[in-house]
């Protein structure tokens, strides 16, 4: 143990004398998470590109104008930008990938609606796009539902309105009489009154929320944290686990590096056991991991309002650092040079980070890939850290990832230290 202590102390002193790498390990997760949060979570201030829609009005009637006008409503206009075109022009715009789709209002649409006959809206999707056409289709079906509902509820006044409009076209001043208008208004009023007991107040109200917490506002959570911080908190665990793995890589790469410089041979020529030297290297890596984790937690808590149960957080950090140290010790015990080790370890870490959810949410990957995530350290680390940061969870709630990481850490540390010791004893 004395040897391990001496080696660990020396390794940490070297890092203290040359702290750039440690600072990078500390800053990296914050910078990267911050950039992602800035890109995707500016509290609604960011202007999402509007979806371009071509509107083909082959009807030109009253209801068709209502459909066209729906896209000009403020809430809809935030997301859609429409242009009135002919069908040929719509096809040309789709072929030129200038619109996500076209909504065609067929001839006779208004008459059919006003007469209560079945009709349709036609949507032409742009096959070159993925999300936009779906949104156009959804918007069209929502309008169809609204128009259909309105036509059913207001069938009587609509029929009267139609008759009035037809008659008005033949009159001199094109305007109906006050009595006809008043009659239609009274019918509308009766229809609304009749439907009112079903429609008001609404039984189901739409509540907007996000993955972080229940919320009724899109740009902040229940605790008032802005969208930026929510996304930051969501991304940070992935970046933190990646950074801790890279940190372990940097520390355990010291073994082949010191072998090439002769300092490790010199340590092994001293009156010490090789196991002491190996454990010293592992301890220094683990201590640095804990320091970086603590620093990340402190910065997160003080500057960004990220909160978590302290005991659970410390336990999870220790478990993850133990697992990453053991794992990287094993990787570097089977390589013959620093370059070989760095290459192999980098590839393994990148793959684990990809599959484990450090870069992308796991549920956005195919199901068979999701299952592979269970075999990565990142997955369990992210799961635990995210639970702690985004909910008021304690040790009990993160028991599963904690146990998985602890067991993995113990096993990989034992196997890794044994393999490294064996390698050193074979001769350097």
């Amino acid at each position: 143990m004395t040897t391990a202590w001496i080696v660990m102390r020396n390794d940490l002193l070297r890092r203290w004398r040359s702290p750039l790498a440690a600072v990078v390990y500390l800053i990296f997760p914050f910078v990267f998470s911050g950039l992602i949060a800035l890109a995707f979570g500016t509290g609604g201030k960011a202007r999402v590109p509007r979806i371009q829609v071509a509107l083909v009005d082959q009807d030109g009637g009253f209801v068709a104008r209502f459909v066209s006008g729906a896209f000009a409503q403020e809430q809809v206009a935030q997301y859609f930008e429409t242009s009135q075109v002919t069908e040929e022009e719509a096809v040309r715009l789709i072929e030129g990938n200038q619109v996500s789709g076209a909504i065609v209002i067929p001839e006779g649409f208004s008459d059919a609606v006003l007469e209560g006959r079945a009709t349709h809206l036609r949507v032409v999707r742009n096959p070159a796009q993925s999300i936009g056409p779906v949104a156009v289709e959804e918007a069209a079906s929502m309008i169809a539902l609204l128009v259909g509902g309105a036509a059913t509820v207001l069938s009587e006044p609509l029929a009267e309105l139609r008759r009035t409009l037809d008659e008005g076209q033949s009159s001199e001043d094109h305007f109906p009489s006050d009595a006809r208008v008043a009659g239609i208004a009274a019918q509308v009023n009766r229809s609304f009154r009749g439907a009112g007991r079903f429609a008001f107040p609404p039984v189901i109200r739409l509540a907007k929320g996000d993955a972080a917490a229940d919320s009724t506002a899109a740009d902040s959570d229940a605790g008032g944290r802005p969208q930026f911080l929510l996304i930051f908190s969501f991304v940070l665990p992935g970046m933190a686990t990646f950074a801790l793995l890279i940190l372990s890589l940097g520390f355990m790469a010291d073994v082949p590096r010191e072998l090439s410089r002769g300092t490790l041979q010199r340590q092994l020529a001293a009156p010490v056991r090789a196991s002491g030297v190996v454990f010293g290297k592992m301890f220094s890596c683990a201590i640095m991991g804990v320091i970086i984790s603590a620093a990340m937690a402190l910065v997160g808590a003080l500057m960004l309002g990220v909160r978590a149960d302290l005991a659970a957080f410390v336990l999870l950090c220790l478990a993850f650092v133990l697992a990453s140290t053991g794992f990287l010790t094993f990787v570097f015990s089977i390589v013959r040079s620093e370059a070989q080790g760095a290459t192999l370890a980098s590839i393994v870490i990148m793959v684990m980070s990809f599959l484990g959810g450090s870069w992308f949410p796991i549920d956005s990957l195919p199901p068979f890939v999701e299952k592979l995530a269970y075999g990565t350290l990142n997955y369990w680390g992210i799961r635990g850290f995210r639970t702690l940061i985004l909910t008021d969870a304690g040790v009990a709630e993160i028991a599963v990832p904690l146990l998985v990481l602890l067991v993995t850490g113990v096993v990989t540390s034992l196997v890794g230290s044994w393999a490294m010791h064996r390698r050193l004893m074979q001769g350097v």
């Binding site: 001496i6 004398r17 300092t263 010199r266 340590q267 092994l268 009156p271």
Partner: protein
């Protein structure tokens, strides 16, 4: 006393060290002289426990390396060929680390660190990161690390490679001083002059074997007591051999086409007599040199090839 008996070490089919034996007494500087690849570093690595010998026995004052590695290593200091230091740490921090590993603690450690810093002339710059040091200073610190815990045996593996003359002289002085205090020193080198100047006894090593060992006079005696006549020219070895063999007093040290080294008796006129005979047989000589026997001629005689720096 270091005792190496029948030491061998193989790497697969390559036999790097072949059944070598030698002893180094307290206060003695024993040089292992040989070209690169002779097996010197492998021998040192076996003695300091980095490589397990394929066979043989290594003892220091009765402590066996194989059965008591920690006790054995506590008594030795190692100065490797490469500069095995931490550049980010100061000279003092480097020495403290290696001293701790060797078992020193507290005030004893600080006292020894200060002492060796003064010995190698780095006391004034002891707090600077050693990456800022010159090559010679790093070499001196490398040497200081090996002696910080006052070992009974100091192993030096080519400690003067790549440094200037001044630093070399300084290191050799320190090594002499260590030996004077009773430390046994095993010193490997491929510099003839260094071995000649520094070592009390020398082992001539090549291809994993020690061909001969002894002090300089003894080794020179292996070549002969006369002068060494070196010839270069356009002659064939087969043509020169019978001419030289005709004189019983002349011995061939080495002979190949265009180059010969002959041991000539130290009698007056002997050299001119030999040269007259050779030229009389119509052999072409372009270059002649006459010198006293030295390690170069010893090495050439023993191994059949020249030892070049």
């Amino acid at each position: 006393m270091l005792s190496v008996e029948g030491l061998s070490r193989s790497f697969g089919s390559l036999q790097a060290v072949r059944d070598i034996s030698f002893r180094v007494h307290p206060g003695e500087i024993y040089g292992l002289l040989g070209p690169n690849g002779a097996g010197k570093t492998t021998t040192i690595s076996c003695i300091c426990g980095l490589l397990r010998p394929s066979s043989g026995r290594i003892e220091l004052h009765g402590t066996d390396l194989g059965s008591q590695p920690i006790a054995f290593k506590r008594r030795i200091g190692v100065v490797p060929q490469e500069i095995a230091l931490y550049g980010d740490l100061s000279a003092r921090e480097n020495l403290s680390f290696w001293g701790r590993l060797a078992g020193l603690r507290g005030s004893a450690l600080q006292r020894r660190v200060t002492a060796v810093l003064e010995t190698v002339g780095l006391a004034e710059r002891s707090r600077e990161p050693c990456r800022k040091f010159s090559g010679g200073m790093k070499r001196r610190l490398n040497l200081a690390v090996g002696m910080v815990h006052e070992p009974q045996l100091l192993l030096l593996d080519e400690p003067t490679v790549g440094i200037d003359v001044q630093a070399r002289i300084n290191i050799l002085d320190v090594v002499r001083d260590i030996a004077r205090r009773g430390t046994a020193v095993l010193y490997t080198t491929h510099y003839l002059e260094e071995a000649q100047e520094l070592c009390d006894r020398i082992g001539i090593m090549d291809k994993g074997k020690i061909f001969a060992e002894g002090d300089l006079e003894h080794l020179k005696g292996l070549v002969g007591e006369g002068q060494i006549l070196t010839l270069r020219g356009g002659f064939a070895a087969d043509a020169l051999r019978p001419v030289v063999a005709a004189d019983d007093t002349v011995r061939i040290v080495s002979l190949e086409d265009g180059a010969a080294m002959l041991d000539i008796p130290p009698h007056r006129g002997e050299v001119s007599s030999v040269l007259s005979r050779i030229l009389g047989h119509g052999l072409s000589i372009d270059d002649i040199s006459i010198q006293e026997p030295n390690l170069q001629s010893v090495f050439l005689k023993l191994t059949g090839r020249e030892l070049r720096d």
